[in-house]
């Protein structure tokens, strides 16, 4: 197997990992699948395009997640918090509507054209990895994603806030009784989740094209990852995201036409074998 292909798979897996961990965190806390996650990722990519043009890519890497975190705060304060006593499915459908709105607003602002973002100077070339040349920028994507994953898991496991987040994901009511401010934890989690989506969008911008359908395309993959990993399990989502990214890219060598179906096939297999997902608890 080609090392380049494997690295491509890891790069795609890294993006899926960042996105699905955010989705899984929001799901764990609010019980809501955020169908606007793909739209947030798309917003991140478009904001990165503008900032990269005006200032630099590195500024975009900071700015896009910050803007998205603000958007996440709106999402939490206006929708999730006000609707928290409503049926979860209804709230999920609200995010479905929000996704439609955000995607259209993006097209109104930036237009329908496919945009491209240049990799930051110094990373446009290739680096030799174990003898094969590989685009340096993608190595950066992999590096940032892995660092982020390790950092996130460490933060969730070791910090006090992380403890609160894990407790609230496990059982919102009991944690509230025990004195955890669930609303504050939730605000933090939704902001982080949205910021991660923005970061994923920024990282993706230079290496996939920035276009109006990118949000929907990635959303479906991320949903599959979250279901396979076990709804609400952050670790499961991360592992499933990475595995699926690699499987899909490597599968493209053997069966180019069928590789897009790999995520769906994986979904069916996992469902039949373990309906609650790889790391999920039995409901």
């Amino acid at each position: 197997m080609d090392l380049t292909q494997l690295l491509n798979g890891i790069a795609l897996g890294s993006l899926l990992m960042i996105l699905s961990s955010g989705l899984a965190m929001i799901y764990g806390l609010r019980g809501v699948t955020n169908f606007a996650h793909g739209a947030l990722y798309m917003a991140g990519a478009y904001i990165a395009y503008s900032v990269a043009q005006q200032v630099s890519f590195w500024a975009a890497l900071i700015a896009a997640p910050l803007v998205l975190a603000a958007l996440g705060a709106v999402l939490e304060l206006v929708f999730f918090r006000r609707l928290q006593h409503r049926n979860h499915i209804e709230v999920g459908l609200v995010t479905f509507g929000l996704a439609m709105i955000i995607e259209r607003v993006i097209v109104i602002i930036w237009g329908e054209r496919t945009l491209s973002v240049d990799a930051p100077p110094g990373l446009t070339g290739t680096t030799s990895v174990l003898g094969s040349d590989y685009p340096s920028y993608r190595l950066l994507v992999i590096g940032i994603a892995l660092a982020l994953a390790v950092g996130l898991v460490y933060w969730l496991r070791k910090s006090r806030v992380g403890l609160h987040i894990r407790a609230a994901s496990h059982d919102v009511e009991t944690s509230a009784i025990l004195g955890i401010n669930v609303d504050r934890v939730s605000l933090l989690v939704v902001c982080i989740g949205a910021a991660l989506a923005g970061l994923a969008g920024t990282l993706a911008a230079p290496y996939v094209s920035v276009h109006p359908a990118m949000g929907v395309a990635i959303l479906i993959q991320v949903l599959i990852v979250v279901v396979i990993g076990g709804a609400g399990s952050i670790g499961g989502a991360m592992l499933a995201g990475m595995a699926l990214g690699i499987l899909q890219t490597v599968g493209a060598i053997w069966a180019p036409s069928l590789s897009v179906l790999i995520p769906y096939a994986a979904l069916v297999v996992v469902l039949l074998w373990r309906p609650q997902g790889l790391a999920g608890k039995r409901a």
Partner: protein
């Protein structure tokens, strides 16, 4: 958990034994079937007059599009109302049936009538396959799974390997000149006014079928599962099989809509299987009202009419999204659902004002 979304009334299961059932109750129940069936029959007859009332050809086409979308919305609404499950995968049955018509006529030179029947069978089989995979899940997981599996079919239809069958993004032209469908030639099928009676009567038959299913003992079992699956299991009911049957029934209704679409448009494209289509149908059903049988039908027609008014600058999905968010936040139950609640409120207030009458108790769950 009360189900705001479907706006379904509180479930009341009356003891089923013949001892506890009064004769009056039996008559009232039979009367109910007659009244419901009568209302649907009258609406069907009234609907047949639509081509005479809508003069412009353009508007007639729109109303017909609305009715075809209504099949999809109706099938999604049925699952939501009786099981509390929201499906984003019904496009697979709708689009799958439409593609079957195209492939059946184009490749295997079936007549349109045969192709229609085969398409509905294929769509229903797809529903059975997807149903086996998804019925054990509920809530959010169900939503995600149906979306993912529905999109699998979309992805497949656009692949290079599928081009000989589906034409990928180019879609498939259907040559209908070879035969007739229920006596309609190709020209009549593509004429909205002439195709209308077929589509409308079939829609009403489906509505009647779903209504009877929902009102039957089977429907009561479904609602029991929706309210508390565990308790139903402990009471000795099999809960997976009824859910599967309901899923397949609703998939069959969606397939009928898809097959009709293909015959009328003589063209199928991956757009039929897309995420957007699933969103359109779901939005139509929610805006119309998931808790009322007529809600999704009403919603679909309103949706298509609104689409032609507001799609001037390609902002359709902006408005769709806004409508969906606003209805969900401020009008749970949809337009017809809220209307029904308002009327019911007025009636019960009036009943309280007058001394209690001796008339037979009206059923609290009349949803026709």
């Amino acid at each position: 958990m009360t189900d705001n979304l479907t706006g379904a009334p509180e479930l009341t299961i009356t003891p089923g034994g013949s001892d506890s059932q009064t004769r009056l109750g039996t008559i009232a129940r039979h009367r109910h079937w007659l009244v419901g069936g009568g209302i649907i029959a009258v609406i069907t007859l009234l609907g047949l007059a639509v081509p005479y009332l809508v003069s412009s050809k353009f508007n007639m086409g729109l109303v017909l599009d609305g009715v075809i979308l209504a099949f999809l919305a109706l099938s999604i609404g049925f699952l939501a109302r009786h099981l509390g499950l929201i499906s984003l995968g019904h496009t697979a049955f709708f689009g799958g049936a439409a593609y079957t018509v195209g492939i059946g006529i184009g490749r295997w030179s079936m007549t349109p009538t045969v192709a229609f029947v085969v398409a509905v069978v294929v769509g229903t089989l797809l529903a059975l396959i997807m149903g086996v995979l998804v019925v054990r899940s509920t809530g959010m997981t169900f939503l995600m799974l149906t979306l993912a599996l529905g999109q699998a079919l979309y992805q497949f239809s656009t692949q290079r390997i599928a081009i000989p069958w589906t034409g990928a993004h180019d879609g498939l032209q259907i040559d209908l000149s070879g035969g007739t469908f229920l006596g309609l030639t190709q020209k009549s099928m593509m004429n909205a006014a002439l195709f209308w009676p077929v589509a409308w009567v079939l829609l009403m038959v489906c509505a009647l079928w779903l209504w009877i299913t929902g009102r039957s003992r089977f429907g009561t079992v479904l609602e029991g599962i929706r309210e508390n699956e565990e308790r139903m299991r402990f009471s000795g009911f099999n809960t997976d099989l009824p859910r599967l049957i309901a899923f397949v029934v609703s998939g069959c209704v969606a397939s009928i809509g898809g097959a009709l679409f293909a015959l009328n448009a003589a063209y199928v494209s991956p757009e039929l299987l897309s995420f957007t289509k699933a969103g359109d149908a779901l939005t139509a059903a929610i805006v119309g009202g998931l808790g009322v049988l007529a809600g999704p039908i009403f919603g679909a027609i309103v949706y298509v009419l609104a689409q032609s008014r507001f799609n001037t600058s390609g902002n359709l999905h902006l408005y769709t999204g806004i409508a969906l968010v606003l209805v969900l936040m401020f009008l749970p139950g949809g337009i017809l659902g809220s209307l029904e609640k308002w009327v019911r409120g007025r009636l019960s207030r009036r009943r309280q004002a007058t001394p209690p009458s001796t008339s037979e108790p009206s059923s609290p769950e009349d949803q026709s």
